[in-house]
């Protein structure tokens, strides 16, 4: 029940945004829970008709980097 879907904002009208999820499905959702401003093109995570958080692209890149480190470590050790 805690499923939440990453979706891209394609339109904003006050506190309501149209988002597009993977596969092109579009939906209107509320922005009332977001602690920060979002713009068109931003990715948010959507649950029960609300964006509950903006996806942090820098953190996503950082976790890619950490994964790469783990995997490099593997190549060195195994």
């Amino acid at each position: 029940m805690c499923l939440a879907i990453p979706s891209r904002i394609v339109n904003i009208n006050n506190t309501v945004a149209t988002v597009e999820a993977y596969g092109g499905v579009r939906k209107d959702i509320s922005l009332l829970l977001l602690p920060e401003e979002v713009s068109m093109g931003d990715y948010v995570i959507v649950h029960a008709g609300f964006a509950i958080q903006k996806i942090d692209e820098d953190a996503a890149k950082e976790s890619h980097r950490l994964l790469e480190l783990i995997l490099k470590e593997e190549e060195a050790e195994l």
Binding site: M1, L32, A48
Partner: protein, 362 residues
């Protein structure tokens, strides 16, 4: 552009699997607290990538499963009022109460509707001013902020009510970790509950119980990386709470959502199906929101509720038993004819075991 494909990459998943095998020192019992993780783990076949030393246990994090029988009975009682439209999330429809379910009541002619978002109820209320619209609100911290925001948005509507049986994850973890019969070496913590809560409400897990814990995302690579992080923590004997799912879980969580929960709700002792009453683990409306609180506006006295006989859901939800230990599993209790709530919800561990049995359960 956020590239989430990397978190689904089978080559990376295989490399992480080899890393886990390389570092593991002995048998480990790890609990995935969240039902959405349970389903993700089965669906992606992660069990087949793990060494046999690792046993994955499902935890209490399935809101459908832990909604008390008496609360289902109360929702049914509310829906029995002739001028009521009861709305709820689709997952709640088939959950058995003492003698009936919302689905059965709908078949008898009650006006019971499934909504995607609590905000959908406001439209139903505006279009049906001669009716009372009641939202049966279930779910953890992922969902309760949306219901709090809907509460604020609904002020001014005279025919809208909410029956809140929301529950809180950290008090349930306290109950779990204090129980003498629960044997767990590390926790995979819920990703989206933590999107709201951040890391602080979990810090007691490491400081008070010396239990390693990692907040994980839901893709196969996320979950394997979380398990890898747990294995390293266990080896180093330095338990802490870490965030694997950093693209969505910030250390402070979502402060605006937390403020909304605090504005509208207060924590109360509440009954978890199969587990029992956990102190301060439920959310009810604060007094200033009495006008929207269904429990203050409807007569919902119900006869004593009955738990199904022989059902092991309570032990399954605490990781003491796995579904196949239950004598009813796949015999008297199946997804078509569920006896316990863990078989009803697609995120219940019994339903997940049933659906995927014969694949990679181990």
């Amino acid at each position: 552009m956020v590239n989430t494909e990397l978190f689904k990459d089978p080559a990376i998943a295989n490399k992480l699997s080899r890393q886990i095998r390389h570092y593991i020192r002995g048998p480990l019992r790890l609990m995935e607290v969240c039902g959405t993780h349970t389903v993700a783990i089965f669906r992606s076949g992660i069990r087949s990538l793990l060494p046999e030393e690792i046993t994955l246990l499902s935890g209490p994090g399935c809101p459908v499963c832990v909604t008390a029988v008496e609360d289902i009975d109360r929702a049914i009682a509310i829906a029995g009022h002739p001028d009521v439209i009861l709305a709820t999330f689709g997952d709640m429809m088939r959950v058995p109460g003492s003698t009936s379910s919302l689905n059965e009541e709908k078949a008898k002619g009650r006006d019971i509707r499934v909504v995607y978002s609590p905000m959908d109820c406001l439209k139903i209320a505006r279009e049906n001013t001669d009716k009372k619209v009641v939202f049966f609100a279930t779910g953890f911290e992922t969902t309760s902020p949306s219901v709090a925001a809907t509460t604020i948005e609904s002020l001014g509507l005279k025919n809208f009510y909410i029956f809140s049986v929301h529950k809180l994850v950290p008090p349930a973890l306290t109950a779990l970790l204090s129980a003498s019969d629960v044997r767990v070496d590390g926790l995979i913590l819920p990703g989206h509950v933590s999107t709201i809560l951040g890391i602080r409400p979990y810090e007691f897990i490491a400081s008070r119980y010396q239990m390693p814990a990692v907040i994980s995302g839901f893709e196969p690579v996320d979950i394997l990386q979380a398990i890898y992080m747990l294995v390293l923590q266990i080896n180093r004997k330095r338990p802490k709470v870490e965030i694997q799912y950093s693209r969505v879980v910030y250390p402070d969580g979502n402060p605006k959502a937390i403020r909304l929960i605090d504005m509208v709700f207060k924590p109360v002792d509440t009954n978890w199906r199969g587990i029992g009453v956990i102190p301060e683990s439920g959310l009810k409306f604060k007094d200033e929101f009495s006008s929207i609180d269904a429990e203050k506006n409807f007569d919902i006295d119900i006869p004593l509720s009955k738990e199904p006989k022989g059902c092991s859901c309570g032990d399954v939800l605490r990781g003491v038993k796995i579904p196949t230990d239950c004598p009813l599993f796949a015999k008297a209790c199946t997804p078509e004819h569920p006896i316990g709530a863990c078989m009803v919800s697609t995120e219940g561990s019994c339903a997940a075991y049933y659906k995927y049995s014969g694949t990679d359960i181990g």
